[in-house]
Symmetry: C2
Subunit: 193 residues, 2 copies
DNA sequence: TCTTTACTGAAATGAACGTTTCAAAAATAA
DNA sequence: TTATTTTTGAAACGTTCATTTCAGTAAAGA
């Protein structure tokens, strides 16, 4: 029987994510990935097929870590308002710990690659739809709980929150002031009350 | 006396802007620029020094066209609320006419290049400060006119609006529904009333 | 006309790009 | 131990990268 994959796939993806996140898709070379993963060039091609292949896996890996974090907040929070605040807390935390102004990998990929590669575009669209669905759900619950107003439909508020989060991430690239960010999050959420 | 520069610099910058906007900085090659500008490779180096050099000129060119548009709105509007709506109208118009999902060149550069090149980062920071100052001024006027509330300082609301605009631009990459966008703009502005 | 300077064109620079190849090493199950 | 299959390592693939070079052409003031 064959020799089995020896490297730690999660660890490799973690390291690859770091490079892509820091340098972007076009800015990252195969050599960068070889260096970051300590994997052989051939092993990368054997296991991921191509640069685009490993990048797609990296996007999924990155997305999954967020989905996990947000999922926890959703189940642990007492109401829709709590949930929203919890989600912004996650982003604030990430912004404050982003020491080299990388921003959000998915947003970066959206602006760099949406119009360059259909596979990446499809991922971004899918990610967007999932996020909007989640936000819509939260808003709907908040409106049922009479915590949020009904000036806009859940779908409309979801798009607003989605927009707010994207802007929040972009602002956070160059503004790491915690008070500013907390206040900003509150101002964004305020429309819903 | 010397022969003088013959090509139309504005036209060249316009064409170069289009390529950089479409492909990003790392995705654009010197050959792309030669093709787009119809300039000789040597002429580009003679006139702009380097790829980074022409890119910086492109950023300034792109920024200037926005500054001109926004300046017009500012002087032609009757009050702060009008001004804000006018600014969002500019972005809505650009989003609807962005047929190949390019997004905003400056935002794209922010996410792609802020952590890769100090010259570009400096430009982005300067641009950000100018925009915040403009927004702060508009908010201040709106508060003086009693159109906007004083729940937040002009600087705080400026950061909020700046964030909203960035999110707006990012959302507009994949969502070109005019009604959605108009409603979104109104929702963003609403906090100030 | 002559000198000065800049644009043009094409070729060449060396380095880096993503990807492929292949023989050797390693690991499992029979 | 042996057969099977994959991971390695290193070199090489052809292409493209940003940039330079340089001889030739063009334009304007002296």
């Amino acid at each position: 029987m064959p020799k089995v994959e020896t490297f730690n796939r999660q660890q490799v993806l973690h390291n690859a994510t770091e490079v892509f996140h820091k340098k972007g898709y076009n800015g990252t070379s195969m050599q960068d990935l070889v260096d970051a993963t300590s994997l052989n060039r051939s092993s990368i091609y054997n296991s991921f097929g191509s640069k685009l292949g490993i990048f797609m896996d990296v996007l999924s890996y990155y997305h999954a870590t967020y989905k996990r974090q947000i999922g926890k907040k959703v189940v642990s929070s007492h109401n829709a308002s709590d949930t929203l605040n919890g989600i912004f807390d996650i982003y604030i935390n990430d912004i404050l710990n982003d020491n080299d102004e990388k921003g959000c990998l998915i947003l970066n990929s959206k602006s760099e690659m949406t119009n360059q590669d259909l596979t990446i575009k499809a991922f971004i669209e899918e990610n967007q739809e999932q996020t909007l669905a989640l936000l819509e759900d939260i808003v709907y619950n908040g409106q049922m709980e009479k915590i949020f107003n009904k000036n806009q439909t859940p779908a409309q508020y979801a798009l607003y929150l989605f927009t707010g989060i994207q802007g929040f991430r972009m602002t956070g690239i160059l503004n790491k002031n915690q008070d500013d960010l907390k206040n900003l999050a509150q101002t964004i959420i305020k429309v819903l009350y």
